[in-house]
């Protein structure tokens, strides 16, 4: 790569977002804002039972209803599917991967499983007619409980498999048992992490059109247009080359739109059958059963340690709910945390086992953090438990175990390239003023106050920036982890940047323009960033797993270098100097020693396009594509603290303060980074205090709407105190690590540790998420009794 001299940089400054204008003025292109001439609307008839045999589907009344264009059962459409909705992560050789077609035919396996579709001239008429579809269901036994599902005699999700066990995956170093036997102290704790509903504010939506020669265009509220394109070939048999996927403005994802859904295949199949554009917009209560959920795990975590607090073993055994089917990366979600059960700590002996379990529920898949919040939660909760067991201050215990030398080779087999966990914790403690919190805590306890304070910590790291393709291959993930950038300097000097990432709130258009602006020395206003359309961006692996900057952002640097190299050759040729005699800064090439002899890169672009005077053999144009496959994951980390106030009479628990110090490497746009931290920690806090998808014993979802599944509002939250410490990643030229998931990974254990801390003097040692008033109150009653 060429050395690129830079001027005062855009990178590192809080450039205001160019994305904002359309959202602030109501001009966004969310799917439901789009229609095509002749569009018809699809409604999906969904099974109301957690498990049922479909005896018959009668569509006569629906087909006869006003405005209905067509109606189909699962059997009617079976011939349209050339393959199952794909799961890209067969985590073990013997994993059970039952087929999953867009509509159920003989058996529905969770509430919301699609059974039939109705297509009508309007959204309302489609909904009316869907009510007229008569499905004869025979209700079957079901369970939503990940532990019960493994018991003998449990209702089976896929009877032909003979078990609900999907897979067992294990990673263990030699000597774990010996180290356990030799330990001074062994602490084992059990943790239930609730099922969470991602709740991107925009429900999903799709619109599809199929042309006369079978070329298909689909607009989808997806995070993964490129992955969706090849998945659609698998399901529909349409060659990828004939499929165009457009992700227009997408209203949040958090992993829930990192997937390939039944409705995406359905609208194309129906558009092809009907010769008309077909549109579907998800309703929120439909979203709660038809879009993936997250978490839903039961862990047992064991630490072994010396009496002075050096942890010698971490051993985790977890049962992880898959739901009723395997979506795109369902089985792999636990694995995304599998290498960080040591967190930021140096732990020599390592054992992690996951059991994937089918239950009669909506499938799980990636939800913000995906596997890493699960790992960090059990780890950070157990750090506090071990601290209590050993009588060591929880902060001190963490410090005694921090990794301090880099690169750090982990017992789990990966290598952390950089970090400074003490620095983040030091800064956190400066901001927190722990002494005054502790004295207020003591005063309230001694004064008999019914509102007690607690403070909880979480020091964490994560592996993100997904990912080195070779490692993904080694752990049986079906696709690569690289990303691409194409940069095109137009004849008159404006710059088109085409990225393989697919933002849905992260502000890539702004940040990417900052990176390219620096690399090419051009004004931000001259740069346009294009994304989210496979016809424009052919190469890409999309946006998830805090990967966009650390992979796609770095690809921009490499593509820029190619542009500068070619421009340098053009300038060298035209100024008749050696390329080595040219300096490039602020977008201008100058001859060393004769700076008055110069040419801007934008002027070079005109020369490149006019092609009147190019070096022999040089192709016209100034365009370059780079794909970048990172050599390592990236490793953000940091230290978070939560201060809570617990009403001991009502159990009502309120977050009073939240302090987060993160090391995400270099911050390209600190304003955007801070926004990502705010949003991330809020989702972890929400899991700790409010959110939980609750099922009854028969696997009926009880929290079916936004009025009973409690996404917090501004009124429940404080303002946050955030700061960054920075160790640049040596793995990539930008020094970046990724920030999208850090907050969610770190925050839930900090909050729950704070709740336990508030009540610790009463004897409370555990608290299940979310810490509802009733759970908190009952925990107090139990220790009183």
């Amino acid at each position: 790569m060429a050395v690129i001299e830079t001027r005062e940089t855009f990178v590192g400054t809080s450039v205001k977002r160019r994305e904002d204008a359309s959202f602030l003025t109501g001009r966004a292109t969310f799917i439901d804002n789009l229609t095509l001439p002749g569009t018809v609307y699809m409604a999906v008839v969904r099974c109301p039972y957690p498990h049922a045999r479909i005896a018959s589907v009668n569509l006569d009344a629906a087909r006869a209803a006003e405005g209905v264009v067509a109606a189909f059962s699962g059997a009617d459409l079976a011939e349209d599917w050339k393959g199952s909705l794909p799961c890209a992560w067969a985590v073990t050789e013997d994993i059970k991967m039952p087929p999953h077609f867009p509509l159920a035919v003989e058996e529905a396996r969770h509430q919301g499983d699609g059974v039939a579709v109705v297509i009508a001239e309007s959204r309302a008429l489609a909904k009316d007619a869907a009510e007229l579809v008569e499905v004869d269901y025979e209700a079957l036994d079901a369970t939503a409980d990940v532990e019960r599902a493994l018991e003998d005699g449990a209702p089976l999700v896929h009877a032909d498999l003979g078990t609900n066990e999907c897979y067992v995956w294990k990673l263990e170093t030699d000597g774990v048992q010996a180290a356990l036997d030799a330990a001074d102290v062994v602490v084992t704790r059990r943790y239930v992490q609730p099922r969470l509903i991602p709740n991107a504010m925009e429900p999903r939506g799709v619109l599809a059109q199929v042309g006369p020669t079978g070329e298909a265009t689909i607009w989808s509220s997806t995070q993964v247009p490129h992955i969706l394109r090849f998945a659609l070939q698998i399901v529909l048999g349409i060659p990828e080359a004939k499929i165009r996927v457009i992700a227009p403005d997408v209203g949040g994802g958090f992993g829930s739109k990192l997937d390939v859904y039944a409705e995406e295949a359905l609208v194309i199949a129906l558009a092809k059958r009907l010769g008309r554009p077909v549109k579907w917009t998800e309703e929120r209560s439909e979203n709660y059963v038809a879009t993936i959920h997250g978490r839903d795990t039961v862990h047992e975590l064991t630490f072994a340690a010396t009496k002075d607090g050096k942890i010698t073993v971490v051993k985790s055994e977890a049962k992880c709910a898959m739901g009723a089917y395997l979506q795109l990366v369902t089985p792999g979600i636990p694995l995304l945390g599998a290498w960080i059960y040591n967190g930021p700590y140096d732990i020599p002996n390592y054992s992690v086992t996951f059991t994937g379990v089918f239950t009669h529920t909506t499938p799980t898949d990636a939800y913000r953090g995906a596997g890493r919040p699960e790992a960090t939660y059990v780890l950070e909760r157990t750090m506090d438990a071990l601290a209590a067991e050993l009588g060591i201050d929880p902060i001190e215990l963490r410090r005694r175990n921090f990794i301090t030398e880099y690169p750090a080779e982990l017992a789990s087999g990966l290598t952390i390239d950089s970090g400074d966990y003490h620095a983040s914790l030091d800064r956190l403690l400066e901001l927190l003023d722990l002494d005054s919190i502790r004295s207020e805590q003591t005063a309230r306890r001694e004064g008999g106050d019914t509102k007690l304070l607690g403070v909880g910590f979480s020091t964490y790291n994560e592996m993100c920036g997904l990912a080195p393709s070779r490692i993904l291959g080694a752990i049986r993930y079906a696709v690569g982890g690289w990303d691409s950038a194409t940069i095109r300097v137009q004849p008159l000097g404006s710059v088109q940047v085409v990225t393989g990432t697919s933002p849905h709130g992260q502000g890539h258009e702004t940040s990417w323009s900052q990176i390219v602006g620096d690399q090419l020395g051009v004004a931000l206003a001259d740069i346009e960033v294009l994304h989210g359309d496979t016809a424009v961006s052919q190469l890409g692996m999309d946006t998830y797993g805090s990967r966009s900057l650390a992979v796609g952002g770095v690809a921009l640097v490499h593509a820029s270098a190619k542009i500068v190299d070619k421009a340098r050759q053009i300038v060298s040729h035209q100024l008749e100097v050696s390329a080595d005699d040219l300096e490039f800064a602020d977008g201008t090439f100058r001859v060393k020693g004769s700076p008055e002899r110069e040419m801007t890169i934008q002027a070079a672009a005109f020369q490149a396009h006019s092609a009147h005077n190019l070096p022999d053999g040089m192709e016209p144009g100034l365009e370059a594509t780079a794909t970048y496959d990172p050599p390592n994951f990236s490793w953000p980390g940091g230290a978070h603290a939560a201060v809570v106030e617990v009403d001991t009479e009502t159990g009502d628990t309120r977050l009073v303060r939240y302090v987060a110090v993160d090391d995400v490497g270099a911050a390209v746009n600190p304003m955007i980074v801070e926004g990502q931290v705010h949003g991330g920690i809020t989702q972890g806090i929400a899991a700790a205090l409010w959110e939980e998808a609750v099922y009854d014993e028969d696997a009926n979802l009880l929290t079916t709407t936004m009025t009973t599944y409690l996404v917090p509002t501004a009124a429940e939250l404080p303002s946050f105190e955030t700061d960054l410490t920075e160790t640049r990643s040596p793995t990539n030229p930008l020094g970046v690590k990724g920030v999208g998931e850090t907050g969610t990974i770190a925050s839930a254990p900090a909050v729950i540790n704070a709740v336990v801390d508030a009540l610790s003097h009463l004897g409370v040692t555990d608290m299940q998420m979310p810490a509802t008033p009733e759970r908190v109150w009952r925990a107090i009653q139990e220790v009183k009794a």
């Binding site: 959202f23 504010m201 925009e202 949003g679 991330g680 996404v711």
Partner: protein, 163 residues
């Protein structure tokens, strides 16, 4: 209000003023105001985020006050002056709340933004945005999943002149 019949549907002729423009429409009674705005008038800035009147994404101003347009029928809007996000800027200049959202990075995916902005405008104009706590309470009807509200609260406080 007069009644027209089209097929078996009962249609109502309704006049309402949106962003200063008067519209006469024939509406089915069941058409929610949000769908009237989005599908009849093409004002798609107002979004639909839930089906239980919980999320506030569809908030518009009706007679100057914040209202969830998913919980009002189009026919109920007869005679009202309605302001949507498309009508908030004047002569191309963003409203101070829109400007503050931009300055304070109070939006990410942008889906809740129109409703959040209009809820904030109503809160400020009613004199309710007196301090951080009042702003947080005053935005209790609007969910955002991206920002954690921190920057939204800052933006509203800035626009209200209370920071």
């Amino acid at each position: 209000m007069s009644i027209a019949r089209k097929g078996k549907d009962l249609l109502r002729r309704v006049a309402l003023t949106v962003n200063g423009t008067r519209h006469e429409l024939e509406l089915e009674p069941r058409e929610l105001l949000v769908y009237v705005l989005r599908e009849r008038l093409g004002l798609t800035g107002t979004t639909v985020g839930c089906d239980t009147s919980a999320c506030g994404a569809c908030t518009v101003l009706v007679g100057g006050e914040s209202v969830k347009s998913c919980t009002m029928l189009g026919v109920q809007a007869e005679g009202f002056e309605i302001t949507t996000i498309e009508g908030l800027a004047t002569n191309g200049d963003l409203h101070p709340v829109q400007q503050a959202f931009h300055e304070h990075h109070a939006l990410q995916c942008g889906f809740c933004t129109p409703g959040m902005v209009l809820a904030a405008v109503s809160l400020i104009e009613s004199g309710g945005a007196t301090d951080e706590e009042a702003i947080r309470e005053g935005l209790e009807g609007n969910l955002c999943r991206c920002t954690g509200y921190h920057n939204i609260v800052e933006a509203v406080a800035a626009a209200a002149g209370v920071i």
